[in-house]
């Protein structure tokens, strides 16, 4: 288990994104992204629909190559690292995908067990115990033998979290965790994210546009603007709301209710 870390240090940089440009073919989605995620942060990638939030996450976790720029994990340049180093970084990352992305041909227990089988030498009994523990952490004790198709969307997301935390990762990525959930389930998921950060001491990166979540859990953020195709702000979301001079950001953070006043 990772050491418990109740009060994460906010100043220690962990993930550094430098001069990042992302593109599909010739079409540039975002350019010149520069930001730092501190160790223990809950870092929000926010912005309107379709602005490239999820693509940014894909580049950060190694699913899509950036057109230009670097992503550092500590001192390691992810996209230029040796395969072994990259595998080491990847092992330390847990990801919850937007749809949950559980492997549909496997039971929940098998889903959670696969990362453990891949990266540890544990025996079947130990793995079974760990799997049950992880599932109970997300409130799914007793659902080991269910298939993903047999449980609800909210449960699938929680099972996805159980899989993401199977290896006690240092970094957790969440892609739109509350999308498609009712407000109560969304709130429970937010609480779970906070709890995981506090108990695992993990650094959390959340892609979302849910304002309630942004303010409830985020202590750092970056705002992607689809019009100018770059980031227009970074920092604590609450502080951004209070201090930002950019009408677009204020408008976003106030759910468009400033329209007609500032704009």
């Amino acid at each position: 288990m990772t050491t418990l870390q109740q009060q994460p240090m906010k100043t220690d940089p962990y993930i550094i994104v430098r001069d990042l440009t992302m593109a599909y073919g010739d079409y540039v989605i975002m350019r010149d992204l520069n930001f730092t995620v501190g160790r223990g942060d809950i870092f929000i990638i926010m912005g309107g629909s379709g602005c490239g939030k999820s693509t940014l996450m894909k580049i950060m976790v190694g699913l899509k190559e950036p057109a230009r720029g670097q992503v550092f994990y500590g001192d390691l340049n992810f996209w230029e690292a040796f395969p072994d180093d990259r595998k080491h970084i990847v092992k330390n990352i847990g990801i919850l995908y937007q749809s949950g992305a559980l492997w549909s041909s496997m039971t929940l227990a098998e889903n959670v067990a696969l990362p453990l089988e891949e990266y540890t030498d544990l025996g079947p009994n130990e793995i079974r115990e760990l799997v049950s523990f992880k599932l109970s952490m997300v409130g799914l004790a007793g659902y080991e033998d269910f298939y993903p198709a047999e449980i609800s969307g909210g449960m699938r997301k929680r099972a996805g979290i159980a899989r993401a935390i199977a290896l006690d990762p240092d970094i957790l990525f969440f892609d739109e965790p509350s999308a498609g959930l009712d407000p109560v389930s969304a709130k429970r998921l937010d609480d779970l994210i906070l709890e995981l950060r506090n108990s695992l001491g993990a650094t959390v990166v959340v892609v979302t546009h849910e304002l309630a979540s942004i303010f409830a859990i985020g202590n750092n953020s970056v705002f992607l603007d689809s019009e100018t195709r770059t980031m227009t702000a970074a920092g604590n979301p609450q502080m951004l709301l209070e201090n930002s001079q950019d009408p677009k950001i204020i408008n976003f953070l106030m759910r468009g209710e400033t329209e007609g006043h500032i704009l």
Binding site: K91, S104, E118
Partner: protein, 373 residues
């Protein structure tokens, strides 16, 4: 009359709308209004009277939007006060965001040359992808041989069951019928020479040497190749493949390898089974139509088929197994992120599978001919 005009009086054209304005009803054409606006030159304002309008749906705002556009073209003021409040709001809503002119511009107005160029680049790219895929599959196979490949045994056995035992009924049906057809076609010709007994040679050699393998290959391309593409394609849509990749697990070893192995193991077995069924089908015709007896047919078949024929048939089927599995998995991995893409992937897997089976058959046949076997 649902649409009547009053005026223009003092530059004001009053449009009177009455009755039911609902989709499916016989509604007046907007051209009537266009003609009116064009024929009268002194209109400065268009107003509406809807006191006699009973019920309306989207058909009304559609007409009103057209009138609004006409009015703005001709610089006529449209006074919407006389309209139902709901219709006024709908028009405001529809015109709140201006038409995005660039929204559809992508992909239009391409010259012939640029289309040819784009298609060529696309073709080269997909050829490169295919070659890379075959290379990766080969590497995964080498890893399997050295015992290092990462896949789930239970997946392998499930796939073996799916493309082995569960395929037996359809393979039986098709093979018996193919044997039957071959025998029918041959029977008529052979009867003319009194050489009915050679029906056993015809059916036996054809089935064992090539037809058994080709028929199972085609059945498996339609049945299992399409299933592979759809399964892997759906996993792509659900981000399941992303989840594998970010865990450092190669989809090639985890998904493609067990499917490829299963088909390579099962195809030769299915092929032998199909051979037997085909010979059985031929036997039905031989015994039923040509008055041969069972032992004659059996002995003649046994003498006709050499071990060479069997090996060539089995070689065919193993090659087809690889081709069908690769086609299915390749199209699955290449699948886009929508449900329509999954359908296309399945279709494309079947087409690629069958085409490659026929091409491979031709190549192997020519090779056998050159080698004299």
């Amino acid at each position: 009359m649902k649409l009547r005009f009053n005026g223009p009086i003092d530059g004001v054209l009053m449009i009177r709308l009455s009755g039911n304005w609902q989709i499916g009803e016989d509604l007046p054409s907007p051209n009537e209004i266009k003609n009116k606006l064009e024929s009268e030159t002194d209109i400065q304002r268009v107003a509406f009277d809807t006191k006699e309008l009973t019920q309306w749906d989207s058909s009304l705002p559609i007409l009103l939007l057209k009138i609004k556009n006409l009015c703005s073209e001709k610089k006529i003021y449209m006074d919407s006060d006389g309209l139902p409040r709901g219709a006024q709001r709908l028009i405001e809503l529809a015109t709140a965001v201006p038409i995005e002119k660039d929204a559809r511009s992508v992909g239009e107005n391409k010259t012939f040359l640029s289309l040819v160029g784009t298609e060529t680049i696309h073709f080269l790219k997909s050829a490169k992808e295919m070659i890379a895929f075959i290379g990766e599959a080969f590497l995964a196979f080498i890893k399997f041989l050295s015992g290092k490949a990462r896949y789930r045994r239970s997946d392998l056995f499930k796939t073996i069951q799916g493309c082995g035992a569960q395929a037996l009924p359809i393979v039986s049906l098709i093979s018996i019928l193919v044997g039957l057809i071959l025998a029918f076609v041959g029977a008529i010709q052979l009867k003319m020479f009194g050489a009915q007994i050679y029906i056993a040679n015809l059916v036996g050699i054809a089935m064992v040497r090539v037809m058994g393998a080709v028929m199972t290959g085609i059945i498996m391309a339609g049945r299992t190749g399409a299933a592979f593409a759809a399964q892997i394609g759906t996993m792509e849509v659900n981000e399941e493949i992303d989840a594998l990749k970010t865990l450092g697990i190669s989809p090639m070893e985890f998904l493609v390898l067990p499917r490829m192995l299963a088909l390579v193991f099962m195809m030769p077995l299915l092929c032998i089974y199909a051979d037997l069924m085909g010979i059985l089908g031929g036997g039905i015709v031989a015994i039923g139509m040509l008055d041969l007896n069972i032992s004659q047919y059996y002995i003649q078949t046994k003498e006709a088929i050499s071990l060479n024929d069997l090996w060539i048939g089995l070689f065919h089927s193993a090659v087809f197994g690889v081709l069908v599995a690769l086609a299915g998995c390749l199209r699955g991995i290449q699948c886009g992120r929508s449900s329509a893409d999954v359908g296309n992937a399945a279709t494309s897997a079947v087409v690629t599978g069958i085409v490659s089976i026929i091409v491979a058959t031709a190549i192997i046949t020519i090779m056998c001919n050159v080698l004299g076997i």
